[in-house]
Amino acid sequence: MRDIASILPLRVDSLAFEADGKSLLGPVSFDLPKGGITAIIGPNGAGKSLLLRLCHGLLVPTRGRVNWAVEGGLIAGRKRHAMVFQRPVMLRRSARANLQHAAMVTGAGRSVEDALEGFGLTHLAERPARLLSGGEQQRLALARAWLLEPDVLFLDEPSSQLDPGATRQIEAILERLAAEGVTLLMTTHDFGQARRLARRVLFLHRGQLVEDADATSFFAQPRTEEARSFLAGDLLW
């Protein structure tokens, strides 16, 4: 039975995207039920980031549909899915003001002070966000997304530009968010990260969803030749 306070499950139905007459994605179909971390992996150009942007509504699909359990993924007029980008976009303001801006424009219910505290940013609150380190900026981006009370959080390579220490912090936050009940759909190039975090893996290759599997079985026994080659480190294109 569906949780009526959630926008999930998400049903991605024959989703396709073309640009300049060239197919970049799809058709792709899958369901995203409530809970857990799902990793989208695949080589560069496979369509991973594109898929996230289509699901989040930043791009309009050429064909197919993104169906939320609640129309538009909105509850009480507020969008309940958020996105964190590979390179966090920081407004030219303090860390606190970045959060206040998100809260103001979305009417978010959570408190800015709780977000600062929960993501270890209180001591950085008055610092210009663009002058924070990469890890601190990504924590701020996650805090900003958390502020919006998302049911689903889309993450595009959230730690690809970070050192191992900062990556560990980000992964700890992602696990905490998942434990709090936020459903995470993230792209990653890092197999280790997908192994550590993901319950489920979507493997994309050349814009097609080649494999949709439980993470443990995907890494132990990939079903397709493409996935086997990818995991073996062969160069796919």
Binding site: L58, K79, V89, R92, P128
Partner: protein, 233 residues
């Protein structure tokens, strides 16, 4: 009068707070500041709108506005003169040869600078912020307040550039103001007039004030950019 004596007299006018001298400086500042304020009120939102919107002919509008940045002041003066002259479409306002006409002419000169610099600044910010703001449900025209606020230091530099152009121009205010003593005589028009009459001290004194103003504007622009880096990143 030799040049040394002229300089000495010029400094006496500046330091002695000569009422006539101060009147000219005050009118110039009043006209220019009002023009820049009007240009900011109109130009900032218009430039930002131009940055975030897409419509047929947009590129043409951008080229026209960029071209108008180089509008010769005498042409701006002539246009305003024709508009405000008794037989012109705005002749009934009765403001030709008044400070109001000078404000209108200078606004016309500063406006393209403000619009063009705003568009450039905001377009760059929009490229960077677009996905994030769209993710928050803020798109197009609704993004303008955020973009204007985050571009505030760069935009302040643009306004100062506009102030610099307006305060230094002579052609437009001369045509529409008429250079009437104690009424529409500004620093630049006085310098032109007094130099031609051979009254160097007043021209030199006003020239020194104008130069000081130019340095002040550049200092402020530099300061705005530094403050921006420090407080906004």
């Amino acid at each position: 009068m030799d040049v040394t004596a002229a300089f000495s007299e010029a400094f006496r006018l500046i330091l002695g707070a000569d009422p006539k001298f101060l009147g000219i400086v005050g009118l110039s500042l009043r006209v220019t500041l009002t023009a820049v304020l009007l240009a900011a009120i109109i130009g900032l939102p218009l430039g930002a709108w131009l940055a975030v919107s897409r419509f047929p002919g947009r590129n043409l509008v951008i080229v026209l506005i960029n071209g108008l940045m180089g509008l010769p002041p005498v042409v701006a003066g002539l246009v305003v003169f024709l508009l405000l002259s008794r037989s012109g479409p705005l002749g009934s306002w009765g403001v030709l040869f008044t400070p109001t006409a000078m404000v209108i002419a200078q606004t016309l000169l500063v406006l393209p600078i403000v619009i063009a610099l705003t568009r450039g600044t905001i377009e760059e910010l929009w490229r960077e912020y677009r996905e994030h703001l769209a993710s928050l449900g803020v798109s197009g025209i609704r993004a303008v307040p955020t973009l204007l606020w985050d571009g505030r230091f760069a935009l302040a530099t643009g306004l100062l550039a506009g102030f610099g152009r307006a305060s230094a121009e002579v052609g437009a205010v001369l045509i529409v103001g008429g250079n009437i003593a104690n009424y529409t005589r500004t620093m630049t028009t006085t310098i032109a007039l007094e130099t031609s009459k051979g009254d160097l001290p007043l021209a030199l004194g006003l020239g020194i004030v104008l130069m000081a103003l130019t340095f002040l504007i550049n200092g402020l622009a530099f300061g705005a950019s530094r403050i921006g880096q420090r407080f906004a990143g």
